[in-house]
């Protein structure tokens, strides 16, 4: 689950990370009020789940409360298109108004969990404000990674090590160590999968502040963070994907026209790839999950069909936990309920495959039954 910048900063501030003064506004009047409280000038930033806001016109330094109001008014209720949102853009419902400051230096800091090391890592770079991927590619010597032992947590000496690598001035080392420690505690306590402060700024008057912040929470840990569920902004997500996640179906919308319904994430990716190699484009990733029942299968297919781009459907089930007869029943049910019935290619294998095929045969549903991925590929482009 992604947080908005203002939510991320509130979380970090709770743990003691210094953030700029400011407040979030849902309309022009609130933006005017917020900017007044900041002394008449502010930075107004669109709140969307995407980077690249500045270049996309979603961030502005304003010199009067009225200007803040006008800018907020021009943003709220519109969609912002950045290089990360795709052409559809992300809707802006709120702006964050923050104090302006004179920046001396920008640095990069993040915490994530490294699957290779099997532990959290602090990643830091002197190149603040840049995409860390780019820095890692072009100037890898400027990216510093410090693994944290989860048994004892972040230690001050590690903070001093990173500060040294960043060449921080002596008087900034201590605040920096405290700040990273606070980030680490926020990361662990909230079950984050990523905390990124980019940039972390040193101001001309000697302060250190998180100027921008991104936080993602591990979806699998949400069961023990019920209070945080309210932070989810589903308007930033695709509506079909929101419906799917509510039904516990792993679904990602893509741009093609071949709807794919599969059990298992690996096989679902393999199916998408097969569609592509056949010369067509997959409309979605869809993993209905291992223990799906008839209703969930039916629901998943109807959901997939509600994407109007879908003009062909490929169902690929390798029964393990999921039985083929259940899958076949769900499929027949969905096609009976659907308001449109695009051509259907079905592949059933594994547990109870004969029963599954019999159910399809008895249903008189028009479909192309295939046995192998090769045949599926051929049927897609036919």
């Amino acid at each position: 689950m992604k947080l908005h910048e203002y939510q991320a900063k509130a979380l970090l501030a709770e743990f003691g990370v210094p953030v700029p003064e400011g407040s979030v506004a849902s309309n022009a009047a609130e933006a005017i009020e917020a900017t007044k409280n900041l002394g008449g000038t502010s930075v107004v930033k669109a709140q969307v789940h995407a980077g690249g806001r500045g270049k996309a016109g979603g961030v502005k330094v304003v010199t009067s409360p009225e200007e803040a109001g006008a800018f907020a008014d021009s943003l709220i209720g519109t969609t912002l298109v950045t290089f990360q949102t795709g052409p559809a853009g992300a809707p802006v419902h709120k702006v964050l108004c923050e104090q302006t400051m004179d920046i001396e230096r920008e640095i990069y800091i993040s915490i994530t969990t490294d699957g290779g090391r099997k532990r959290p890592v602090v990643i830091a770079s002197s190149e603040g404000g840049m995409e860390i991927e780019e820095v890692a590619q072009n100037e890898p010597e400027k990216v510093f990674t410090e693994p944290i032992d989860p048994a004892i947590g972040f230690q001050p000496y590690q903070g001093r090590k990173i500060a040294g690598a960043l060449n921080l001035p002596a008087d900034q080392v201590r605040p920096f160590v405290t700040l990273v420690d606070a980030c680490y505690r926020a990361y662990m306590d909230s079950d984050s999968s990523m905390i990124e402060i980019n940039p972390l700024v040193l101001t001309k008057d000697g302060k250190m502040l998180a100027l921008d912040a991104k936080v993602s929470i591990d979806d699998d840990a949400m069961f023990r963070h019920k209070m945080m569920a309210g932070l989810r902004d589903t308007s930033q997500e695709d509506s079909l994907e929101v419906q799917a996640s509510e039904a516990d179906i792993a679904y990602v919308k893509l741009d093609g026209n071949v709807g794919c319904m599969v059990n298992g994430a690996g096989l679902a990716m393999a199916t998408m790839d097969t569609v592509k190699f056949a010369g067509a484009e997959p409309a979605n990733f869809l993993d209905v999950g291992g223990g799906a029942g008839e209703e969930k299968i039916s629901h998943a297919i109807l959901l997939m069909l509600s994407d109007s781009n879908v003009t062909k459907v490929l169902v690929n089930i390798f029964g393990g936990i999921l039985r083929c007869d259940i899958a076949a029943r769900g499929l027949v049910d969905a096609y009976a309920k659907a308001d449109r019935r695009p051509p259907l290619i079905v592949r059933l294998l594994g547990t109870n495959v004969e029963e599954g095929k019999q159910i399809l045969a008895d249903s008189n549903l028009e479909l192309t039954l295939v046995d192998t991925l090769e045949e599926a590929a051929a049927a897609i482009i036919k």
Binding site: Q84, T113, G115, G116, K118, R119, P120, E133, A136, Q137, D149, P150, A151, M188, D191, S193, D218, D219, D220, A221, F223, R224, A250, V252, L254, V262, N263, G264, A265, G266, L267, A268, M269, A270, T271, M272, D273, T274, V275, K276, F277, P282, F285, D287, G290, G291, F318, G319, G320, I321, L349, G350, T351, T372, L373, E374, A376, A377
Partner: protein
Amino acid sequence: MSILVDKNTRLLVQGITGREGSFHAERCKAYGTNLVAGVTPGKGGSTVLDDVPVFDTVEHAIAETGANVSLIFVPPPFAADAILESADAGIPLVICITEGVPVKDSTFVMRYLEGKNTRLIGPNCPGLITPGDHTKVGIMPGNIHISGTTGVVSRSGTLTYEAVGQLTARGIGQSTCVGIGGDPVSGTVFVDVLKAFNEDPDTESIVLIGEIGGTKEQEAAAYIKEYVRKPIASLIVGQTAPAGRRMGHAGAVITGTAALASEKMKALEDAGCHIIPTPADIGRVVQEMLG
């Protein structure tokens, strides 16, 4: 002819009285696995599946039955606790099927296992199977496997079945098939399994199935280049996945260049692996590789 599980496996199932646990425990037993015990706190003293005793604790189950492999089916909030209980009781091999274990829990578990004699496979994995010894410790359909000398290792469940299905259709038998799971932090990674296959005299060739996300495949490639001389065929899926989106598996996210399918394929090809171009070609490429 195998790694990790064989005819000496004495299986314990944690969560054996649950819906998934009882269903799969029965399947494992029916396949021929020596299922010796179950553990469900509060249900100790009962029996399930005709003659399998249920215990309250893993420690008690080991003392009474000599169990040496544990298979876990408990819900995500309790999975880490179940793994730790088995490790603390000294079980050398623990397989966690549970999907949706928080990454932080897995991180703590892996830290606890450092220096201990317990190997964890998973979480979020299908388990493993040694067809030649009729030993299945997982949720895969047993009947698609045949005994042979090809080892299979994969991050996926159903895609492993797909691979095995294609191998079996061509008469290519398997020594052991291991699903390491789709989570970003997993107990056992490709390198661990490759090492075991490399040292197993009865595994003559290997199929490695990877996917987008993380760097496990690159680590595998580096190991292969240095140590493995057995022929390896490799498929990477997610070639059409968009960046930044989780493809079902928590670990299947393109977070940077290294996470791309193309980068992984390049690394494995450089290491001398036979690249399987599309998921439909698994059987064909392995057969050509074996000559």
